[in-house]
């Protein structure tokens, strides 16, 4: 068979969003690949220049539909850095608990999509079922299922509802049991291991050079977790370890995310048990000073970063968003070339694509 270009996308079951992967195949082997993004470009950076600081929080929620809490938290962190606001400690603990819940929900969403890509429908169904528990917790806290609009500049929107901490701890126990079940389903399946081991190798040097962050980076053997190494909230007071793996393949990425879910349960327990009493919000000024603010968090997908320039008014002069997947997906040709067409789903699924933040 001669070489030919195949467009996978914008509408394709593999993409989980709107993007286009152009691959050049020789028979079934990929010889060239070229991702193409921009189908969901909404101009959020321009929109933010015309909204007040408070109005941007719901828009930053819609940056990434998989982990919207992380992005609105990142936005608030950035603006707090610009305005010089000290957040009350209880608010920080609430934020950490909620962020880790969002991380678990996001990883479960990834696992569901990944299992469905590989053809294991049972993985899709079971993870979606268990994701509902975390969505319920976040919903009882914030009132919405996906876009929460919960963090505020200077704290969080409101205090925890009654018995929420008890439910969260129960959910953590349930999740620990379920993680063992997932290991039975996935690691115990010979076909799953065949599809994952040794596929999509991204060496450490390539990962560093191409700016890959988050679980793919840690799966390539770099022990770097922003929560641990450049801590931003109350993470220094909590006890946890970054999860990493040295195999550089799809299975390593899978394993890193599975370990991160267990670690997130561990963090949620600590955050809820150590939560101090007190205020959960301070009043933020309406206008920001002239200057710049920088926020940097460990998104479930990598390193999320925002850079805000204030000009003394109530609107940001410029808000730049760094999307982890936007950089990671540019490393896709490195991982794809040389593998089969069927490996595209394993490799690109292992990156956990979220187009909302990629295209902004």
């Amino acid at each position: 068979m001669a070489e030919m270009w195949i467009n996978m996308g914008p509408q394709h079951p593999m993409t989980h969003g709107l993007w286009n992967l152009r691959i050049k195949v020789d028979g079934e082997t990929i010889v060239d690949a070229e991702p193409e993004v921009g189908y969901l470009h909404r101009g959020i950076e321009k929109i933010c220049e015309n909204r007040t600081y408070t109005q941007i929080i719901p828009i930053s929620d819609r940056l990434c539909y998989g982990s919207s809490m992380t992005w609105s938290h990142l936005y608030c962190l950035t603006v707090e850095d610009l305005m010089g606001i000290e957040v009350p400690e209880r608010a920080e603990y609430i934020r950490v608990a909620v962020l880790e819940m969002q991380r678990i929900a996001s990883h479960l969403m990834w696992l569901a999509a990944y299992a469905a890509d590989l053809g294991a429908m049972i993985g899709f169904i079971y993870t979606m079922r268990d994701r509902e528990i975390w969505i319920d917790l976040l919903q009882s806290l914030t009132g919405s299922r996906i876009t929460y609009n919960f963090p505020r500049i200077g704290g969080v929107a409101h205090d925890l509802p009654a018995n929420w901490d008890r439910d969260a701890l129960r959910a953590c126990d349930y999740m620990d049991k379920k993680l063992k079940e997932y290991e039975d389903i996935f690691d115990g399946s010979k076909v799953f291991m065949m599809r994952n081991e040794g596929v999509g190798i991204l060496k450490k040097e390539d990962a560093l050079n191409l700016g890959v962050t988050g679980p793919p980076l840690r799966a390539s053997g770099v022990k770097y977790d922003l929560r641990k190494d450049q801590p931003y909230s109350v993470y220094p007071e909590l006890e946890f370890q970054p999860c990493y793996h040295t195999d550089c393949d799809c299975y390593a990425r899978f394993k890193v995310r599975m370990d991160e879910m267990a670690m997130s349960c561990h963090i949620i327990r600590q955050a809820i048990n150590n939560m101090p009493k007190g205020k959960w919000r301070v009043v933020s000024p309406r206008n920001a000073p002239v200057g710049t603010g920088l926020g940097r968090v460990e998104d479930p997908r990598g390193e999320g970063m925002m850079y805000v320039v204030g000009d003394g008014t109530d609107r940001p002069y410029r808000l730049k968003i760094r999307s982890p997947i936007f950089v990671t997906v540019s490393a896709a040709p490195k991982m794809l070339i040389g593998y089969k067409v069927a490996d595209v789903v394993a490799i690109m699924g292992g990156l956990d694509m979220c187009i909302g933040e990629t295209d902004r």
């Binding site: 101009g43 560093l208 050079n209 191409l210």
Partner: protein
């Protein structure tokens, strides 16, 4: 609980070195100022782990190369372009994983010639970010391998993040 710990931790537990003495920041400042005494200005330690410096654009490529090769800044986090009245500022956030440092390197270009040297030969991750800055802000990156629009359709006419663009948003 014991089983959980065993499952999660891979290999030995390594505590991150404490950063109280501020040693890595000063090392970076000293080395960079020695290498670029005239073009590197406004060096400032903003807070622990965050440095800020301004550099003229003719030395940007050399500075980035020495940052990666000599000082161990192996990760380019973000390239953001900001428009001011008479100039564009291009802000490079560069991370060092080992030293746990973030360096904010700011370079300026005049408005009538918005172009800097591309650093995608140093960090491959800069490739798409520079294309994005070109797409949305219209900054030319010299010696870029493939400087085309990335987010907007290729026949789009404007650079929408500029302040004089009034097409919406």
């Amino acid at each position: 609980m014991v089983g959980r710990q065993k499952r999660v931790l891979k290999g030995e537990i390594e505590e991150p070195p404490t950063r109280i003495d501020g040693q890595p920041e000063e090392l970076v400042i000293r080395t960079l100022l020695d290498m670029f005494p005239s073009t590197l200005t406004d060096f400032k330690k903003v807070r622990d782990g965050l440095l800020r410096a301004k550099i003229e654009r003719r030395d940007l490529f050399k500075a980035c190369k020495s940052l990666r090769d000599n000082l161990g800044f192996e990760h380019l986090s973000m390239i953001s372009a900001v428009e001011y009245d008479s100039r564009f500022e291009i802000v490079y956030h560069i991370t060092s994983y080992e030293k746990r440092l973030l360096l904010e390197l700011i370079t300026t270009t005049p408005k009538d010639d918005p172009s800097v040297e591309s650093i995608s030969a140093i960090w491959g991750g800069a490739n798409w970010q520079e294309r994005e800055a070109f797409d949305l802000m219209g900054i030319k990156f010299n010696n870029h391998p493939n400087l085309q629009r990335i987010l907007l359709p290729s026949d789009y006419l404007y650079h929408p993040l500029r302040k004089d663009f009034t097409g919406g948003g």
